[in-house]
């Protein structure tokens, strides 16, 4: 009985979680795909969409190439800096995670727009140039942090040995630094490409007359009536993710995104042989930091020059409302994510791998696709075997559209918690686990005194990341809320439609403070709680 019960409970947990995922993601995606197929079957190729697709692909490729190269250069520079300077670089680039893409776009307008700081000096920022700049800066943390994490594993002694034996900088990079980057670089390139392709918010501010897929989908959804085109675009945006998922499935070990948390301290700086390449990377890093600083200064100057009140009561309502939604989604996502992680652990290797891959798929699905799918599935009344399900999307729908908002916040939150918990589980050495069991420790004691201290910090950090991500993310929330709904992303896009840069900066400045403060609070609270538990045990 005691052996059968956990397996039954695990199976039941997975069935419940699976049913939830089917309702929130599975059914909407199925409907979206069927609508896209029907659109192509009935009307053929949507007029004009080919050009939009070509423009979007070209833009995403350029952003991916530049972003990856810049990320590599920055990460290489960081690895050669002392610990203090490395932290400055990490904070400067990592901090961009707290800045929504549309704010970067607005900052580009503040610098190079017609009323900007450097008007006349820079070429017109509306169109390809501005979008490329904004997308590279906004998505730079993806390649930078991925490469930084991968290079934490590089043993400085290997580099030192190569240098002493007379290897040139290019040889050290080729033979020592690049090999461990193969998989992380592939993952980051794919993520960067998908992010650039599926972000509707930078084109909303800077597109000029260049249509992009994601922004076209946004217009089709907010203008209503273009559901088939939106469905088709959503499917197209998902295609680049599929090879990544396939590669992850074929890997024997878990994918790079679910690699165990190593928790190493900062390793010593790498001393590379002098070369133009290393020097060039440093110059490029300084240039990138200068661009980021210029964007920040232009944003600050725009706020200082603003007439009238920057902060309105509506803005505070918007922030409060978004935080509340993010917390509700977190409250629901944490138990579900922990439950699926626990069930995967109990269910055998094949099941665990399947669940991990499903959760990773959810996490990698572009927010634009998810938002469009939920809009299409629940934007209208849906017939069910139990009667009509009222519309769940829109200001005046059931519970004021709140159900859809919580659903889109939960969709990426559950896999984040699940993957963090799974990574945490792997941190507990199996030998230790089994020894504790042999010595007579009960399941509760093992969980509380062995597993929680090992995984708690990671789950808490993930929880903070979930809240932060949901507050600053644009998609999918803008697809399931009215343009002036009290959600930060929707409200900010409405402000930017009217070129209200200063209010956008003020709004997102407060958001960054709230998110940063909340994250620090969660991190320190969890560290304190775990420290107290460790002392008591």
């Amino acid at each position: 009985m005691s052996r059968i019960w956990p397996r039954t409970a695990a199976a039941a947990s997975l069935v419940v979680a699976g049913a939830g995922a089917a309702v929130v993601v599975g059914w909407p995606v199925l409907r979206m795909v069927s609508q896209a197929i029907a659109a192509v079957a009935t009307t053929g190729v949507v007029p004009g969409l080919g050009r939009t697709l070509a423009v979007s692909l070209a833009l995403a490729v350029v952003v991916t190439v530049i972003g990856t190269a810049v990320g590599l250069a920055l990460a290489l520079t960081a690895r050669t800096l002392s610990r203090g300077w490395r932290r400055v670089l990490d904070a400067s680039i990592g901090g961009l995670l707290l800045v929504p893409p549309y704010v970067v776009a607005a900052a580009v307008v503040a610098v190079g727009g017609r009323g900007g700081l450097l008007t006349g000096i820079l070429p017109d920022v509306y169109g390809a140039l501005g979008m490329t700049l904004a997308m590279v800066v906004a998505h730079l943390p993806i390649p930078y942090l991925t490469i930084r994490m991968a290079w934490r594993e590089v043993d400085p002694r290997l580099v030192e040995m190569s240098r002493v034996t007379g290897a040139r900088a290019t040889e050290v990079i080729r033979l020592v630094l690049l090999p461990p980057l193969r998989v992380p670089l592939a993952v980051s390139t794919a993520l960067l490409f998908v992010s650039a392709l599926s972000d509707p918010s930078i084109p909303a501010v800077l597109r000029g007359r260049m249509p992009t897929l994601a922004h076209t989908a946004y217009i089709e959804v907010i203008a209503w009536g273009g559901e088939s085109t939106a469905a088709l675009i959503a499917v197209l945006l998902t295609l680049p993710v599929l090879p990544l998922l396939l590669a992850m499935w074929r890997r024997r070990e878990a994918g790079a995104l679910v690699d165990p948390w190593q928790g190493h301290g900062a390793s010593p700086r790498l001393v590379l042989p002098r070369s133009i390449l290393v020097h060039g990377c440093r110059v490029l890093s300084v240039l990138v930091l200068a661009v980021v600083l210029l964007l920040v200064l232009a944003s600050a100057a725009t706020m200082i020059r603003a007439r009238g009140s920057l902060l309105t009561p509506t803005m505070m309502d918007v922030i409060g409302s978004t935080v509340r939604y993010a917390l509700v989604a977190l409250l629901l996502a944490v138990p579900v994510g922990l439950m699926t992680a626990w069930a995967s652990d109990r269910g055998g290797t094949r099941l665990a791998r399947g669940v991990d891959l499903l959760q990773t798929s959810l996490l990698l699905m572009p927010g634009t696709t998810l938002g469009i799918a939920i809009f299409l599935a629940y934007g209208f009344e849906t017939p069910t075997p139990f009667g009509q399900l009222p519309a769940l999307v829109g200001g005046a729908s059931l519970a004021s559209g709140s159900v859809a908002l919580v659903a889109v916040f939960m969709a990426p939150a559950v896999p984040m918690v699940h993957l963090a918990a799974r990574a945490g589980q792997r941190r507990v050495p199996r030998a230790l686990h089994e020894t504790a069991g042999v010595l007579g420790a009960g399941r509760r004691r093992i969980t509380l005194q062995l597993v929680v201290p090992q995984t708690g910090a990671l789950v808490a950090a993930t929880a903070a990341a979930v809240v932060a991500r949901n507050i600053v993310s644009v998609s999918p929330v803008v697809f399931v809320s009215t343009p002036d709904a009290p959600m930060v992303a929707s409200f900010a896009l409405d402000l930017l439609d009217r070129a209200a840069l200063e209010q956008t900066f003020a709004l997102t400045g407060i958001v960054a403070l709230v998110v940063g403060g909340a994250s620090a609070l969660v991190a320190s609270a969890s560290a304190a709680a775990l420290g107290a538990r460790a002392r008591s045990s």
Binding site: R114, W224, S321, Q388, A396, S402, T482, P486, D497
Partner: protein
């Protein structure tokens, strides 16, 4: 469980408070401040709460069409009456003969009482004289002046797919030049646009911010930007202009028909038609007992107003928007 959590945390996607059973759900197609002023004045007068969802006119019409089986809103307030004509033809509006309707000339309301015009605005150019001067050109005074190569990328207008304001400007060109020449002109004009905004009230603010030199918008939005301290001017086109008659209507199957009728009585009244001015956006009233009303403005001949009938403007909307989507937007 989700609903319980949402209620516990006070989450609502429509504003800072939960909707009460007696609250009226108003779909508002005007500037946010005007919508707020209308709702505030109604609440002050009656005590009923109002939940406002603001959407540009074309978006609002699509939303009502899709919500036919699930009545989301009680009242639709604001936005050009062309869209109300379409909505009425499709059976989306409920007839209601308010006692207050007598004060509004018949030209500005539906003969079957399904909608009534409650304000009006003239289509105009909102220009930044300094920016125009920096470009080395003259302030545009006619529609053809907007095709000046110096204004390439210097014009801001909304997308007619989402904005009734932009559709009014689009339709005017067909009235002015005929179907083919009108589309040719529009193709040229849209080639001059920096980027299309979603909302018709936005272009005036884009010019005020200095991102473009000219906006095509309704005059009150430009006047409001000027009153707020921006260096912009309203220029009424010398060759032709058009105007919107912003309307109000009760939606078919409104969940709160009694309160909706009270709202219509208020919106049609003198107090309702002047309530929006509290926002700083002063639109022309339609009631003939109010000074400076639309009939007076049209009669004094100051504006070169041309335009087809509402029904005609409404009937060609689908084909014009399809042309715009395929030829301009993508």
């Amino acid at each position: 469980m989700v609903l319980a959590l949402l209620a516990l945390t006070g989450c609502t996607a429509t504003g800072d408070r939960q909707m009460d059973d007696r609250d009226l759900a108003v779909l508002c197609s005007n500037d946010a401040e005007v919508c707020r002023a209308w709702a505030g004045a109604f609440t002050e007068r009656t005590g009923y709460g109002v939940t406002t969802v603001r959407l540009p006119t074309s978006e609002a019409l699509e939303r009502i069409r899709h919500g036919e089986d699930l009545p989301e809103f009680d009242v639709w307030h604001g936005g050009g009456s062309e869209m109300y004509v379409e909505a009425a033809d499709e059976g989306l509006l409920a007839p209601y003969r308010s006692a207050q309707a007598a004060g509004i000339p018949e030209d500005f309301r539906d003969p079957e009482d399904r909608w009534s015009g409650v304000y009006s605005s003239m289509l105009a150019f909102c220009v930044a004289p300094q920016a125009i001067s920096d470009l080395g050109t003259e302030i545009p005074r006619t529609w053809d002046d907007l095709l000046d190569p110096a204004l390439d990328g210097q014009i801001s207008t909304a997308s007619p797919r989402t904005s009734g304001t932009a559709y009014t400007a689009m339709s005017l060109q067909i009235d002015r030049l005929g179907e083919d020449a009108g589309r040719d002109y529009l193709a040229g004009l849209y080639g001059q646009v920096l980027q299309f905004t979603r909302s018709g009230t936005a272009p005036a603010q884009v010019v005020a911010r200095g991102e473009t030199a000219v906006a095509i918008t309704f005059a009150p939005y430009c006047e409001a930007a000027r009153a707020a301290g921006s260096h912009v001017e309203v220029v009424l086109p010398e060759d032709a202009t058009s105007y919107e008659v912003g309307a109000v209507a009760m939606l078919a199957d409104a969940p709160h028909p009694g309160t909706a009728r009270e709202y219509l009585d208020f919106a049609l009244s003198a107090g309702g038609q002047t309530a929006g001015a509290a926002s700083g956006i002063d639109q022309i009233p339609t009631r003939s007992d109010l000074p400076g009303n639309l009939a007076e403005v049209l009669a004094d001949g100051r504006y070169p107003v041309i335009g087809a009938s509402l029904a005609e403007r409404s009937s060609r909307r689908d084909s014009l928007l399809a042309w715009y989507t395929e030829e301009v937007e993508r």
